[in-house]
Subunit: 162 residues, 2 copies
DNA sequence: AAAAATACAGTAAATATTATGGCAATAGAA
DNA sequence: TTCTATTGCCATAATATTTACTGTATTTTT
């Protein structure tokens, strides 16, 4: 806790506004960004460079329309393991990396062990993928699939409480 | 299914490579992007404009480091409702919009009704937020919290099977 | 209080963006 | 087939942005 608090204290109001605006529009020019945050172009660029180097900004990306691109089906999968060997998670990581349709894989506390988020074309293709996944992953005892019927919110923006 | 298949057929190999590269680096210049996909700058820009207008590209964003920015705790929450009124989902949408810590809210099929993804500073603050959420949201019968202990994969990239 | 470090604005050169015109290839109509 | 229209590309040039550099003011350190 102390670490994060210290780190975030290094960021002043302008840094946080830069991060905010960059979350809203990742292709904004430094000229426009400077105007938004009240800086001229050069110090604005310097700050962005610093925020990138210090790791606050990890990357920039275009957000695509999954429905138009053949990935209209979103499912979450809960997975239970029979045994929890120490190295199962690293096996999981390797296996998960093989399927680009698996957007997320988390080790969680609670009634089950892993939570997967998968984006794919349709149910038929999902059934096939799930079969492959369960066949490849080690020691799967049980899996439960939740099909997303409607999404009320979906963002990867971090709340900057600025 | 026919719709998506038709739509994606409108995209040729170059379009898909543009989308791919834009997912990898949302701030790439059109000059460099053109070199990557084998086009000069002007038609490259034209294609990106078209992909934006047609909705394939929804937005651009910077991916920030949640751990460094005071949101090191990731939890998923399953929520069951007592009654499923027709307009509960719209109430959910409104309520969810009030909390920027709630990154995702999905209506799902299965044993429970809603799945929330929440990014927040720590457990103490989470308990408080959960209390507020359960108090505000209508007709919550049960909730189950899963704390993410480790993440093997987390991306919002769409698989373009290019 | 002096020196050093920091952060800013302004400037100018290199580079990128963007509108335009022209050309070639393709598709559609006569 | 042949003509025309459309499409998509490249090249060019103007405008704008990026980026390195310099100087200055402010803050921090000694």
């Amino acid at each position: 806790m102390a670490i994060e608090t210290d780190e975030i204290k290094n960021l002043d109001r302008i840094d946080r506004r830069i991060l905010q605006e960059m979350q809203n529009n990742g292709r904004i020019s430094y000229v426009d960004l400077g105007k938004l945050v009240g800086l001229s172009t050069s110090p604005c660029l310097e700050r962005v460079r610093r925020l990138e180097k210090q790791g606050y900004i990890k990357s920039y990306t275009a957000n695509l329309n999954a429905d138009l691109l053949g990935s209209g089906l979103l499912v979450f999968v809960e997975i239970n393991l029979t045994y929890r060997k120490a190295d199962v998670f690293s096996e999981f990581k390797q296996a998960v990396a093989k399927w680009p349709q698996i957007q997320e894989c988390h080790l969680v506390s609670g009634d089950f062990d892993y939570l997967l988020k998968i984006r794919i074309e349709n149910i038929a293709i999902y059934r096939q993928l799930l079969g492959d996944i369960l066949h490849t992953l080690p020691d799967v005892r049980e899996s439960k699939t939740m099909v997303v019927m409607e999404t009320a919110a979906e963002t990867s923006k971090i709340d900057l409480q600025a």
